[in-house]
């Protein structure tokens, strides 16, 4: 695969990236899903998920990263996260007020507990992860050449 991807960094960086990028993504997902029981949450896990895709992009070049998560998909996920968060907030009106914790609490120290907090974590993780990836893609694709034509 070294003949088709000449754009990225060297072979050592590519091999290490292939080994570690899945672990980084998995760690980010763990932090998002277990934010109500241990340190972490949507913001932290979203940044880690964005870092895994940025890692892939820095090592292999832009095309390989876009095959995993294209720019249009990133914009879609940002909007989906925002809509999801607002929808969870609005669903609280079924019980009385905005942001009501309407799902039963469940047993503590488990994954499915604490009502709406894991769902909100997932929504915020989508916003933060896809948004920071979109920001980074936009900044990288900007060429830094002064245009003094006249």
């Amino acid at each position: 695969m070294s003949k088709e991807d000449e754009k990225g960094m060297s072979l050592i960086v590519k091999t290490i990236t292939r080994l570690t990028v899945g672990l980084i993504l998995l760690y980010g997902l763990y932090i998002v899903f277990h934010g109500h029981g241990s340190p972490g949450g949507g913001f932290t896990g979203g940044v880690i998920i964005a870092l895994s895709f940025i890692h892939l992009m820095l090592a292999y070049g832009k095309e390989v990263a876009f095959r995993k998560l294209s720019e249009a998909a990133a914009s879609f996920f940002v909007s989906l996260g925002a809509i999801l968060f607002l929808a969870i907030a609005l669903l609280g009106f079924t019980g009385g007020y905005f942001f009501l914790n309407f799902i039963p609490k469940g047993e503590p120290f488990r994954l499915f507990s604490a009502g709406i907090i894991p769902l909100c974590d997932i929504a915020i993780g989508l916003i933060v992860g896809a948004g920071l990836f979109a920001i980074f893609v936009a900044l990288v694709s900007l060429k830094l050449e002064p245009e003094r034509k006249e």
Partner: protein
Amino acid sequence: MIDLYVLLIFMIIGAIIAIEVKDLLSSVVAVGAVGLGLVVALLILKAPDVAITQLVVEILCLIILIRATLKKDLPFSTSGRWVLNSVITIGFIAVFLLAAWKCLRELPEFGYPTMKVASTYLKEGFSETGATNLVGSVILDYRAYDTLGEATILFAAVIGVLAIVRRIGRIKRGEIVEEDDE
């Protein structure tokens, strides 16, 4: 608490290096050192959530800033501005320090906060929300309006960056553009 003092002095030295060094890449790396010192200080202050967030945000911030500063030979124009600016800067900092000194005497002593609101959270947060991480319960249950506002700001920042950076729609030079006058 001697380790906290050592870390704060380390951060101040790193900030002075970051401000006064001439090379921009060295300046950005020194800011990274300040941020990592902040991570360790947050761990000492028993805030593991904030420490994880600061660590990953610091890495991403360094990547973005190095991307902005790396690729070119920049003029090292780090000298100060005119004389009036120096006077205004020193005056501003002096006024700020004076006001801060007045305010700091009203704060409770370090290590013994009043915790009027937080005592309710500590007492009833576990039974009311079911979340064992109290920071998570404060973010997403008690103060979820704040989080909604922060998500809105983040969304606006993403849209702002995409709107500043994009090239589609730029008018070519010499192209005849029909525009509606308004």
